[in-house]
Amino acid sequence: MRDKCIAVSAALDQYCKSGQTWMFGGFGRGGVAFTCLEELARRSQQYQNLTIVKNDANEPNLGVGMLLNQGMVRKMIATHIGLNPDAVRMMNEKKIEVEFVPQGIFAERIRIGGSGIPAFLSDIGLGTIVAQGKPTMEFQGKTYLLESALRANVAFLCADVVDRFGNCWFKGSNRNMNVVMSLAADSVIVEAKKIVETGTLEPENIHIPGVVVSAVVQAQPRAHIQEPGGGIA
């Protein structure tokens, strides 16, 4: 099977454009494509007016927080940005638009976006401000919100182990949003610190099949993260 390993810069050149929608796997720091994000932030002039889909906003100047601090982002779709006060401030100052989605509905909207399903019915958020302005419908005598699919131009994933074809394996809680995003974008870039030969992973233990992956890139050690303790969202 094809070797998809390329340099980070080559992957960005090939798949990324200004004005696009990008998805990032990760929950807090776990499963976040930090190497891609650092290279993207270096290209802040090149990529503007972006829509970012990530569970959270990471932390100030870390992860997707870099894209925010660089002024590259127009809109964020997220579940919780509390660990990034810069993001909260930018939202309050209306420098970015933020759409908050309940975490499971966030995952599900992305999942159906990758599954050829345009919408589903949900009762999550009924009776709260989340339901305001959303389309509703009756089904079997009850009222539901109609939740629509989320897709992106590019998804950036971070696996613990990836093979050269793109088959991914995640440790512990790093899997999070990465799996649903793998199907929901036109192009999928996976980074991992550990890249192995194709055929190394057990077929049954693969979390994302390489067939959905466009490019595999080498994650760099994250020297800039020095303080102990993980970030959250």
Partner: protein, 221 residues
């Protein structure tokens, strides 16, 4: 188990909350006070903890590197118990919405008399997003809310109507404070137990509206 120091009131709350968790239950513990419950549970409690970012079988906190691969939903590095299982976010919330959570233990800004919960947003002041809180509040079979009885100005957290945006309406099963336990019975948060340090009359007189109570209060523990 935790390095955080607990106030005596907080310890009363989490010890009372721990009584609600029985062997075999699948439980999600929200950030804050609920996270401290394991420190007062027996070693082999038989309770399985769910972390909504993607696993069941949450173990004790560990000292982790910044890229430690197992964090709970509060971002703490934790161990996995024997028999733990990892999954992705969509499966994790399928569990929640599918009704597999026996209980969620959550914090609160306000709980209304009808069991509405407000714990995610203070407009103009605190707007971080709801995370997974709405699903937990709406879909856990039992929603146990832990809170100090009143805020710093002495206003009880149990209110006639929530003034803050709701997390979910009519969802709270139990509200546990350092003075009282309220249970939603016939649609109303009802006083069912008071801590030995106070009395039914003292608790009820602290409200500016009428709070129902059961005729014979249950013992605290």
């Amino acid at each position: 188990m935790s390095a955080l120091s607990l106030s005596p009131q907080e310890e009363i709350i989490i010890r009372r909350a721990a009584q609600e968790l029985k062997p075999g239950m699948l439980v999600n513990l929200g950030i804050g006070l609920p996270t401290l419950i394991p420190s007062v549970l027996p070693q082999d409690s038989g309770i399985t903890l769910h972390s909504e970012n993607g696993f069941v079988g949450v173990g004790a906190p560990v000292v982790g590197t910044p890229d430690y691969p197992v964090i709970d939903a509060g971002g703490r590095a934790v161990s996995l118990l024997k028999g733990a299982a990892c999954f992705d976010s969509s499966f994790s919330f399928a569990l929640v919405r599918g009704g597999k959570l026996d209980a969620a233990v959550l914090g609160a800004f306000e709980v209304s008399l009808s069991g509405d919960l407000a714990n995610w947003m203070i407009p103009g002041k605190l707007t971080p997003g709801m995370g997974g809180g709405m699903e937990l509040a709406q879909k856990a079979r039992k929603v146990i809310v832990l809170s100090r009885h009143a805020d710093k100005s002495g206003t009880p957290k149990l209110v006639e109507r929530c003034s803050l945006p709701l997390t979910a309406p009519s969802c709270v099963t139990l509200l546990i404070t350092e003075f009282a336990v309220f249970e939603r019975l016939e649609g109303k948060m009802t006083l069912v137990s008071v801590h030995p340090s106070t009395t039914k009359e003292a608790v009820l007189s602290g409200f500016t509206f009428s709070v129902p109570s059961i005729p014979e209060l249950r013992s605290w523990s």
